[in-house]
């Protein structure tokens, strides 16, 4: 026990002293949370550096009213409206060039005759008044700006009909959020459990092979076993260090979320603790499995890298996954991180699991058991 404890503490110290592991295991998860929290927290509040242009070729009270509606929406910080420079001979061409060359995200073009067409529409039942929304398809910022302008124009048309007394029926709309607990969820609260799982997972699949395959390859383990230390004690010491590291990682990530972003994530709930423990066990056993399957450290790192990103992204750690094509859906269902992420978030009241609860526990448990049994049989701590 004493030996395992001493080893555990030494592994822990090494993880803090080695710059590479210090960055990847300690600093990177915090940086990622800070980055995603800062970026998407801002997007969530509707603060984006979008730039839109209004080209009013009609210059009528109605077209100006539409422009005012757009300006009012932009006043909330969603976008900035730029005016057409006075020297422009053809404002439409100017807007097209600006959008095309990426200086402006989208432009609303109100053509001449807009007001006449709009005023005549209810009486004659003629064609609707056209407006154009210029944008660049495929580009996220431009598409977002275009959607906002599109909706502003449609809403203006509806308001016009309502004011003219032509809209016989106005239908109220209520919004209701479902899944999880009855409280608003910020993106940072959604992503925080994902970052915690990522940190535990990376710790397991990269750290275990370093401690077993690399040290064996460098003939360091042989020296350890020249002492009275047994293989079991070595592994127990390592597992203890991993547990200690994981506890500190979870605490620091939680603290950053809480103090920097005001994330309220009640990790001390028994169900949440169960999922965290399960995640720790699965990550550690996967690390042992990789070590058992690899003869060299290079192979181990290739295997770890092969698992790392696909399982993280197909586990929905950072973004909720909705509809994936057939084969990826199977990977998603078999991925232990999918169930750990959903289970942990559900226990924190952030979402409702998409699989039955028993499947959510069974899949990670099966991974844990199969990896533990397989690596228990195959793993060799000394060279053959």
């Amino acid at each position: 026990m004493k030996a395992a404890l001493a080893l555990g503490l030494s592994f822990f110290r090494i993880s803090l002293r080695e710059r590479e592991s210090l960055f990847w295991f300690w600093i990177f998860p915090l940086l990622l949370l800070a980055f995603l929290g800062a970026v998407f927290g801002r997007v969530e509040k509707g603060e984006m550096d979008l730039v839109v242009a209004l080209v009013d070729l009609d210059c009528s009270p109605l077209s100006q009213a539409l422009c005012d509606v757009v300006r009012e929406i932009g006043g909330g910080g969603l976008f900035r409206v730029v005016e057409v420079p006075e020297a422009q001979g053809n404002p439409g061409e100017w807007a097209q060039r600006e959008v095309r060359e990426g200086r402006i995200h989208a432009a609303l073009i109100i053509p001449r005759g807009f007001s006449i067409t709009l005023q005549g529409f209810p009486l004659s039942g003629s064609n609707p008044a056209p407006v154009e929304v210029l944008y660049r398809r495929g580009e996220a910022g431009s598409s977002t700006a275009a959607s906002i302008l599109y909706e502003a124009a449609e809403e203006f048309g509806r308001a016009f009909l309502a004011e003219a007394g032509l809209l016989r029926r106005e239908i109220p709309v209520e919004k209701e959020l479902v899944g999880g607990e009855e409280r608003p969820v910020a993106y940072v609260e959604f992503v925080l459990p994902g970052i915690i799982l990522m940190a535990l997972f990376v710790n397991g699949i990269f750290n275990v092979p370093s401690a077993i395959v690399l040290t064996k390859q460098m003939k360091i383990l042989r020296r350890y076993f020249a002492t009275p230390l047994s293989g079991g004690q070595y592994l127990a010491g390592f597992a203890l260090a991993a547990l200690l590291m994981s506890v500190f990682q979870v605490l620091t990530i939680w603290a950053l979320g809480y103090f920097a972003f005001g994330a309220r994530v009640p990790l001390l709930r028994p169900e949440a603790l169960l999922y965290l423990l399960l995640a720790f066990g699965v990550s550690l056993s996967l690390g042992f499995l990789i070590s058992a399957l690899s003869r060299t450290f290079g192979t181990a790192m290739a295997l770890s890298s092969l698992l790392n990103l696909p399982l993280q992204f197909l586990g929905g750690l950072y973004f909720p996954l909705a509809f994936l094509p057939g084969p990826l859906r199977i990977v998603m269902a078999l991925n232990p991180l999918t169930h750990l992420a959903q289970g942990l978030r559900s226990s924190l009241g952030l979402e409702t699991v998409s699989f039955p609860k028993w499947i959510g526990l069974l899949v990670p448990l099966l991974w844990l058991l199969v990896s533990a049994v397989f690596s228990g049989k195959r793993i060799r701590l000394t060279e053959e």
């Binding site: 998407f40 032509l166 709309v173 509809f323």
Partner: protein, 351 residues
């Protein structure tokens, strides 16, 4: 020349023996493109809307038919629909009780909800107009004015990934391979032979950059094969950006080697630099979504200009003078940094 060819052959063997390198060159682009392509590129699929009609009305049902892009699924009651929304079996729900609409959104789908809410409101507007026997008095038309007619999400990300493949290869050619050889004490004995430092460097650099170009081309081919994405390539411009990107990236690798001299740390520092550039260059996360301080920082980093340059060369965006000059500057920086690296490290007494 024979010595140079021998170095080339040995470096190629080293690459094929290193499974991690092989993985990062061949499998990683596939993994990235397939996963991100299916997760985010798949947003162009129809939106699944669950509906509950407590009192079916002709005008309300007809309003839904105005949206052929929607996939409608009917539910018998509100609870079942709420569960389906919560379990992501449908994207969002609409409940019509004869008086009002209730829009059901999944609390966890934070990024998708604004779009679903917009769509929900559009459906309600259409229902109001139908109920009043009217159609929309304004017809907004989206007009795509981008350079590429068939632009999609892939057209923006693939050139960025290609630029990153070359940047990464260039940084690691110097900060990883050359610095690694120096740290392990291999460089000095090699420099003591008649092989010149520059032919050794060129041998290592050519192989690593060849792999970077291969990885970039592999990204391009995979996008075409898996997702049918095609580009209008300007070969001369593509070659220009690939070359300045390679030169500049090797220069960055040299800079990392100057700054981080501790054994084993140069490669790690190179990896950190690559990750920072990946996040702040507008490749994965749109630039306008970043806070202004990160945008300012991102604009100093070469990855932003390289990604834009590759987009211009592949006909996705207009290439401005700013991108051209910044790229030229990056290439020039690379030449100077590599020259200094050669002077400092490619000598037997320094190796």
């Amino acid at each position: 020349m024979r010595a140079f060819l021998a170095i080339l052959a040995s470096q190629l063997r080293v690459f094929f023996r290193n499974r991690t390198d092989l993985f990062f060159t061949l499998a990683l682009p596939l993994v990235f493109l397939a996963i991100f392509g299916f997760i985010w590129g798949g947003r162009e699929r129809p939106t699944n809307v669950g509906v509950v009609f407590a009192s079916p009305e002709e005008s309300i049902l007809a309003a839904l038919s105005d949206f052929p892009g929607l996939s409608i699924q009917h539910f018998s009651d509100r609870e079942k629909l709420a569960l389906a929304v919560a379990r992501r079996q449908v994207d969002f729900g609409l409940v019509w009780d004869g008086e009002k609409f209730v829009l059901l959104l999944n609390r966890g789908r934070i990024q998708d909800n604004p779009e679903f809410e917009r769509l929900g409101r559009e459906i309600v507007r259409a229902a109001e107009l139908r109920a009043s026997g009217l159609s929309s008095p304004i017809e907004p038309v989206r007009v795509h004015v981008g350079k590429l007619i068939a632009a999609s999400w892939f057209h923006y990300i693939v050139p960025g990934l290609m630029a990153m493949a070359i940047l990464q290869a260039g940084i690691f050619a110097v900060a990883g391979r050359m610095a690694g050889m120096r740290e392990r004490g291999i460089l000095r004995p090699m420099l003591a032979t008649p092989v010149s430092g520059w032919s050794l460097f060129l041998g290592v650099g050519l192989i690593r950059m060849g792999l970077g170009f291969f990885s970039a081309g592999w990204n391009f081919a995979l996008a075409r094969l898996l997702f049918g994405v095609s580009f209008f390539v300007n070969p001369a411009l593509l070659l220009f950006y690939a070359l300045v990107c390679a030169l500049g990236a090797m220069g960055l690798g040299a800079l990392v080697s100057f700054v981080v001299r501790k054994p084993g740390s140069a490669s790690a520092a190179g990896m950190i630099l690559t990750q920072i550039m990946l996040f702040l260059s507008g490749i994965y996360i749109p630039f306008e979504f970043l806070p202004s301080i990160l945008q300012a920082f991102g604009r100093v980093l070469p990855a932003y200009y390289m990604a834009q340059g590759f987009r211009a060369a592949l006909g996705v965006v207009e290439g401005g003078a700013e991108i051209l000059w910044a790229s030229l500057g990056f290439g020039l920086f690379g030449v100077i940094a590599l020259f200094l690296f050669g002077q400092l490290f490619l000598r037997p007494e320094k190796g």
